[in-house]
């Protein structure tokens, strides 16, 4: 199919003292795909996305964004390059309203007195926020509502919308469904698909493989700092992914009549 590579990680290694968190990991992200990054605790998923989002810097290896080498010294530089990260529960400011949250750090302003004073364009930002939420199919009755009054699912939706609205290239979702009520999960996964339709590439980290299979086009599996496999979603199933995650020690397929251990993926 010859899909365009948007982000390319080449031989990324990261050490914390004697601990090798990532060992020579190479990974490509294609344009307009949802890549699920999976692995057990301590497999290196978080370290990897922190490197992509500029929060930490690798010891060795290179990152290419649309074919151009990038070195992000801070999350802000990654943001400028169009890479947005939605961290678990960190993304929103409770006491600000929905519109203010969406535009936090990128407020629309009018300059007065030759730029000495910059007034916020509340109306404009509210209107734009509505458009952004509408595009992604998110229903928030009142855009002026402080986000602390919203449900977990609505908050997560807004966090994702914030990333989607400004992440021109890539958004990274760290456990987007972890803290949600069951009925809200579907909505967030739907939102991930919407973002993809909008032409954004998405990396999603999740422990819940069922959720991952509902949205992902491709899986990359990490185990103790190494990439142990990449699979297209259509060519694989939960069993195989679990096997990759655990190193095949915990699961045996029950098909051939052999012992089957239950694994909580």
């Amino acid at each position: 199919m010859g899909k365009e590579v948007i982000l390319s990680l080449k031989n990324i290694t990261k050490k914390f003292g004697a601990l090798v968190a990532l060992d020579d990991v190479s990974l490509d992200l294609y344009k307009n795909e949802v890549l699920a990054l999976v692995g057990d605790n301590g497999a290196g998923k978080s370290t990897l996305i922190k490197i992509i989002s500029g929060a930490i810097i690798q010891n060795r290896g290179e990152i290419y964004l649309k074919g151009r080498k990038v070195d992000f010294a801070s999350p802000i530089e990654a943001k400028r390059a169009g890479i947005e990260t939605v961290y678990q529960d960190l993304a929103l400011v409770d006491s600000l309203n929905v519109a203010n949250n969406l535009f936090l750090g990128r407020e629309e302003k009018v300059s007065v007195l030759g730029g000495t004073l910059k007034f916020l364009r509340h109306r404009y930002m509210e209107k734009r926020s509505k458009e952004i939420l509408d595009t992604l199919g998110i229903t928030i009755p009142n855009i002026r509502e402080q986000v602390k009054f919203l449900s977990g699912g609505q908050r997560q939706s807004i966090a994702v919308a914030k990333a989607a609205a400004f992440g021109k290239n890539i958004i990274i979702l760290d456990e987007p469904t972890a803290a949600l009520a069951v009925k809200e999960v579907g909505h967030i996964l739907e939102l991930v698909k919407k973002c993809k339709e909008e032409g954004i590439s998405i990396i999603i980290i999740t422990h819940n493989l069922e959720h991952a299979f509902m949205v992902a086009d491709r899986f990359a599996v990490l185990r103790v700092g190494k990439k142990v496999g990449e699979r297209l979603a259509e060519d694989t199933d939960i069993d195989e992914i679990v096997k990759l995650i655990t190193g095949g020690t915990l699961v045996k397929n029950g098909k051939d009549g052999s012992e089957r251990k239950i694994v909580n993926a």
Binding site: P75, I76, K79, T85, Y87, L90, A91, L92, V93, D94, S95, L96, N100, L104, G105, R106, E107, K109, L117, K118, F119, L120, H122, T139, I140, P141, N142, E145, Q146, F149, L150, S151, G153, Q154, K183, E184, V185, G186, H187, L189, E190
Partner: protein
């Protein structure tokens, strides 16, 4: 996908109940507005002198210094900090202005300006210690409270500076029309700070920093700069308060405004500004300032003894705040 549809409608339902509760919370700290009204009615009934225009002006003038300092303090507290050094800064600014005028023949406006700038420098020191050295603001300003007070005493050698030219008194005692100049200054700063908090980028960022510093950081805000700036502003405002007080007293005294920071904090907390940061509105802070002023004024008119005044003042703080807490339950 059916599940998703259900999820959608479920979300909608939840959302509408959330907006109902929002309406309930809509008038934030309505408790203190009710309380202010009750106070006014009470004192109006109990004494004849209270409900007069001239007494109203007197109250405003009495609270002007607390008010000016409280607007600065509000920014600090909303950003998640606290500034205990404002009382000392008021004294320092005053002794600097008086000393410069008296001993060095510095033109009066310039002397006031230097005093105010000194307040800004104190604020900068607070800000740098809090953000760069990363000492918690309450401890930073506990330290500078003592240091700045000490400096004020050192500057005047423990004496009172007096005998300034007559025009020294204009700032604190003068009028524009029937409005005392300190009141005018307070009103101008109220409008200014109201705009800053509600209509400027900086204001939004102060709320964001106080509410969720990590999110503010991730969103690309310069949190260190914001936190330092609010301390500088608080220092400048206290400096202005000091200039007014020194002018009003027609002297430079290192011992003035002791404990002023507590009145200022009381006003800010009465105004519903959360000590945890991220929350509070300036108009409510102004109401908090008014409550302090009206209470003090009314109790004097009723000849309440000083010791009782202290008890009542503290009790009122607790009562007014508990009205809001109860309402939220």
């Amino acid at each position: 996908m059916k599940n998703n549809k259900q999820a959608f409608s479920g979300l909608k339902k939840e959302a509408s109940s959330a907006s109902l509760s929002k309406k309930f919370f809509a008038v934030e700290n309505i408790g203190i507005y009710i309380f202010l009204t009750m106070l006014i009615i009470f004192f109006s009934v109990m004494t004849n002198a209270f409900l007069t225009f001239s007494n109203f002006i007197v109250i405003l003038r009495q609270v002007s210094i607390i008010g000016i300092a409280a607007f600065g303090q509000a920014l600090v507290v909303i950003s998640g900090g606290i500034d205990l050094s404002v009382g000392s800064i008021v004294a320092l600014s005053g002794v600097i202005a008086a000393s410069l005028t008296n001993f060095f023949g510095v033109p009066i406006p310039l002397a006031f300006l230097i005093g105010i700038m000194a307040g800004g420098v104190c604020g900068l020191a607070n800000g740098v210690l809090a953000t760069k050295v990363k000492i918690p603001p309450i401890i930073v300003t506990l330290g500078t409270l003592t240091i700045i007070r000490g400096l004020a005493f050192i500057i005047v050698g423990g004496h009172t500076v007096f005998g300034m030219p007559e025009s020294y008194r204009v700032l604190g005692r003068g009028y524009v029309g029937f409005i005392p100049i300190p009141v005018l200054i307070m009103i101008v700063f109220f409008i200014l700070f109201f705009i800053v908090l509600n209509n400027l980028n900086f204001g939004r960022h102060i709320y964001a920093t106080g509410s969720n510093e990590e999110a503010a950081l991730i969103s690309g805000l310069n949190v260190v700069k914001i936190k330092t700036m609010v301390f500088v502003i608080s220092g400048l405002m206290a400096g202005i308060g000091g200039a007014i007080l020194s002018s009003r007293l027609d002297s430079g005294q290192a011992a003035t405004a002791q404990g002023l920071e507590l009145d200022v904090l009381t006003a800010v907390v009465l105004g519903g500004v959360s000590i945890a940061g991220g929350k509070g509105r300036l108009e409510s802070v102004f109401v908090g300032v008014l409550i302090i002023g009206i209470l003090a004024n009314g109790m004097v008119l009723l000849n309440v003894q000083h010791f009782y005044q202290l008890v009542i003042k503290g009790a009122v703080l607790l009562l007014a705040v508990s009205l809001d807490v109860l309402k939220k339950k």
